[in-house]
Amino acid sequence: MSEPLIECRDVSVGYDGKPVLEHVNLTIEKGEIVALLGGSGCGKSTMLRALTGLLPPLSGELLILGKPLYDLELEERNQLLRRTGTAFQQDALFGSMSVEDNVALPLRELTSLPEALILEMVRMRLFMVGLPGHGTKAPTSLSGGQRKRAALARASILDPVVMFCDEPSAGLDPAVAATIDETLLHFRSALGITLVVVTHELESIRTIADRAVMFGRGSIMANGSIDELTNSKDPEIHNFFHRVAEKLDDGGALEQLTR
């Protein structure tokens, strides 16, 4: 195996000098689909911001394709980021452009391909994500699931080596969520794109992910195959995978009063 695609060595991430996650050691190989999991507020989105070049880590080394993302000159860093794609939780489509122009934007800005080829690539991508014929519409006229798929099309248009997806199927109906899972699998099988997916959807994790990395208690809590994590003895991981409700502390105020 050549060098890993993504490597985090003892990385801490957080805001204003206060770490949310510490001592994160993580390696992602080419061709993997890795799910980043964890309860709300565990720091997985913060980690994703660090991986996508939006939030410099507080300490540690973060390598993408063997290069230290945050130590590069601006132009070099942009070159590196162009080989990654990011699909945001809120689709982040530009409202002032049509779906087609949104998807074509990276091609128009970053390549010198002729317009006919660009339009054909966009058509192909929209077909792949199941939105054929929606190119001329405004993003606001699409449904939530369609917008997420358009965002996936935009994130993948440059054939990135790795794609980061923040909750690609959250809040969508099961059928649409399954379509998105399928699209992600298709991206890997057909274009060889490595995927790092932040998600809570157990169903989707089981369908697509080779491996899950679970964040919690301020760092990585578990890292292994889905089966390993499902059968984990750790109560927190067990609860997550078996949808056991957290015991809420009711404070016992009523008991105190009625005693």
């Binding site: 006919a116 054909e120 192909m124 606001t140």
Partner: protein
């Protein structure tokens, strides 16, 4: 490897065999496409065969080249064949979209008459919804005034502070400077006729009746009207206004009544302050530069400026304040969808407000002149 990318073409009797060399990726497809496009247009070529035996990696742009060529040839009744595909090529080319019906045809652009009709209709719709908004605001304000309903705690004070207190300095400063400028300019002209003392009349009347209300309105438009539109527009885009509606809270009472009430108080108040400070500026110049003692200046003012003049100025700035408040609210509430609609609402608020303010000002001037009240 990609540096040697290109095509070799062999032609024989209406058929062309194209050997693809090297990677078909973003960096190389432009050239390959140009070669193939020209080949596809030739009348003597009926069948094009792409030989992939020496082709390297194929990315999305490479797939697009093949797909586009296939469609181009199909349109002119020609054939495309692919040979010597490796498994990787097959996997990639499998992504070619099937021939789909073209996206639904966009409607033909409307003709001139249609456009005129549409703009009239949309203007009528906008006027109706503005009317509705004003009526609802008055109804809600009345309900609040009669203590049937309440404003959100602290909202009115907060609005007054952000519109008024923060605007004190700029209105004061500009009125002072304008008063001074007018005194300088007017004095030069009036002194030529030995009428330098009338500079007091000129400054006080124009300040009270015109300059202070107008300038306050312009400042309020830029500072407050734009802010109202941007704030409400963002709330609309982020569904915050819908959230209020679904909670059963009237958004007009919650958001508009405090803003309109605040601007109703702040507009005339700032304007009144502007009048006095402007006159003060004029007085300063008259004293220093024209040797006109302040007492005399003041005497001229009290003789010349009547309560009716103040009423005229204050009344006008009240109307201006409402124009600004309702323009900002109406356009902000009508923003929809994307980020640019908020910017659009803000710009339109400024343009519409200033435009309407000048028109209303002209109407005021005409009416008062016709009524012979000077």
């Amino acid at each position: 490897m990609s540096s040697g990318a290109g095509t070799t073409v062999k032609r024989s009797k209406g058929a062309a065999l194209v050997k693809l060399r090297g990677d078909l990726v973003v960096a190389t497809t432009r050239k390959v496409w140009n070669d193939l496009k020209i080949l596809g247009r030739r009348r003597d070529v009926r069948t094009v065969t792409l030989d992939f035996s020496e082709a390297g990696r194929v990315d999305s742009s490479g797939i697009a080249v093949v797909s586009l060529l296939a469609r181009q040839l199909e349109r002119s009744g020609k054939k495309l064949e692919l040979t010597e595909l490796s498994d990787a090529h097959k996997a990639a080319l499998d992504l070619m979209p099937k021939q789909e019906p073209e996206a639904e045809k966009a409607e033909p652009p409307p003709g001139a008459l249609e456009r005129v009709g549409e703009s009239v209709l949309s203007a009528a719709g906008a006027t109706r919804s503005l009317g509705g908004l004003i009526a609802e605001t008055i109804r809600q304000a009345f309900a609040v005034a009669t203590r049937k309903k309440r404003l959100p705690a602290g909202a009115l004070l907060h609005q007054i502070a952000s519109m008024g207190v923060d605007g004190l300095f700029i209105v004061g400063m500009l009125s002072f400077l304008l008063g001074m400028t007018m005194a300088f300019q007017g004095a030069v002209q009036l002194q030529r006729f030995g009428a330098g003392v009338f500079v007091a009349d000129m400054i006080s009347v124009s300040m009270v009746r015109e300059i202070a209300p107008l300038m306050t309105a312009v400042i309020l438009t830029g500072r407050t009207g734009a802010a109202i539109a941007a704030e409400l527009g963002t709330m609309r885009v982020r569904s915050e206004i819908d959230a209020l509606t679904t909670m059963g809270i009237n958004p007009v009472r919650f958001l508009l009544v405090p803003r309109i009430a605040a601007i109703t108080l702040v507009g005339p108040a700032l304007s009144l302050m502007g009048m006095f400070i402007g006159i003060l500026g004029g007085m300063l110049v008259a004293t220093i530069a024209l040797d006109l003692p302040p007492i005399m200046f003041w005497q001229r003012i009290t003789e010349r400026v009547t309560a009716l003049d103040f009423l005229h100025g204050i009344g006008k700035s009240l109307v201006f304040a409402w124009i600004i408040g309702f323009a900002g609210s109406h356009l902000g509430m009508r923003a929809n969808g994307d980020a640019s609609s908020v910017g659009h609402a803000t710009t339109r608020t400024v343009v519409v407000s200033i435009f309407s303010i000048i028109i209303v000002d002209a109407i005021f001037a005409t009416i008062t002149t016709v009524l012979r009240y000077t």
